[in-house]
Symmetry: C2
Subunit: 236 residues, 2 copies
Amino acid sequence: MIESVNNEKIKYYAKLNQKKYRDEAKLFIVEGEHLVEEAKKRNLVEVIYSLEPLDGAIRVSEQVMSKLSALSTIPKVLAVVRMPEKREIKGNVLLLDDIQDPGNLGTIIRSAVAFGIDTIVASYNTVDFYNLKTIRSSEGMLFYVNLLKGDIEEFILNNKDKYTIYNTNVVGGIDVSDIEINTPFALIMGNEGAGVSARIQKLAHKNVYIPMNSKCESLNVAMATSIILYEFSKRR
Amino acid sequence: MIESVNNEKIKYYAKLNQKKYRDEAKLFIVEGEHLVEEAKKRNLVEVIYSLEPLDGAIRVSEQVMSKLSALSTIPKVLAVVRMPEKREIKGNVLLLDDIQDPGNLGTIIRSAVAFGIDTIVASYNTVDFYNLKTIRSSEGMLFYVNLLKGDIEEFILNNKDKYTIYNTNVVGGIDVSDIEINTPFALIMGNEGAGVSARIQKLAHKNVYIPMNSKCESLNVAMATSIILYEFSKRR
């Protein structure tokens, strides 16, 4: 049992709550039973820490748990997890242009898995995939999709002959329920405030929009992503 | 200009950050220019406070603003707003069974307006409509829908001859893209963890589900609500 917050391993792992150290170590922390189970299924667990005796876990004191945890209420169990290996892109792709909110990113990942996206390419300015809030709101689905950071413009320029590139806009373009879906596709979703940047919009093959009540200017980006991916999954 | 945090009005309005006082006064606070504008459009503004000179607003010091604001970064402007009058129900209805997360409730409200819901009836245990996070994530759309708290079971029992009641479930029932939509309808969405409670499920006329990848157990409730309301709006 580890009781001291000055234990070298604990001090090292506690730093994983900062992006810089996560990127360096290629490790991150997941908190709570459900996420630990998902990480185990994917064979990505480095070590499990638990407040109570638990098979395969190292017991720790509440002080140690709260040093490792980023939550105000500490979990009973958490795990240090290896970042999944990046894979070659082999299916439909979601391109994220500067998504800011970690909760939005997490629910986008969850819906992307639900509707059969193989790879998410997020711009460098998109919030971190391994942010605690992102992990939590993905409900562990981040283990089931190929997560890449990259230059979206470059991705499009390199893949526009292989992929049909769909851009989204609040108005203009084709009603999402009327559009013809060509696979493989890449769908571009934009920043919460600014939408998809103009230089990226221009590179798309087609524009889609979701028809809605005129009182409502726009949908939350995670809602819009879910609806469009749902429509695309239905009709391909 | 009000500079003192001990000003009686300021002390009174600052209490509106607690639900108890909001319910008593039938007032709540909206922060930031966009929400203040939406409240003005609906003629619901009681008073506007601003850090800078602004037509129709009372100027306040940063100390006063931070006493009124619930945000870590204070806004330039905020308003004390009257709760909209409850109206008679006259269109399609969304029934919320114990939604817990204020962000989810806000985005549900936003999507409900986007897809033509007239009234939301939320169970008494659902998070407050006038919670700051709910207001923010509704993007001001809470001013465009009739918001009621009530007993969902009672609503269904009183309205099941007039309304087609749709229940949602992760599995089972009819694929949402195949279901026939009868209006007026009432759609029931359930708690983030527990779903719709069994006694309410039993009262529904029809069950709908969203088909998805088997890796994904369920969608976020706000995503599921958005997709179903989108489908319903398309085909009625």
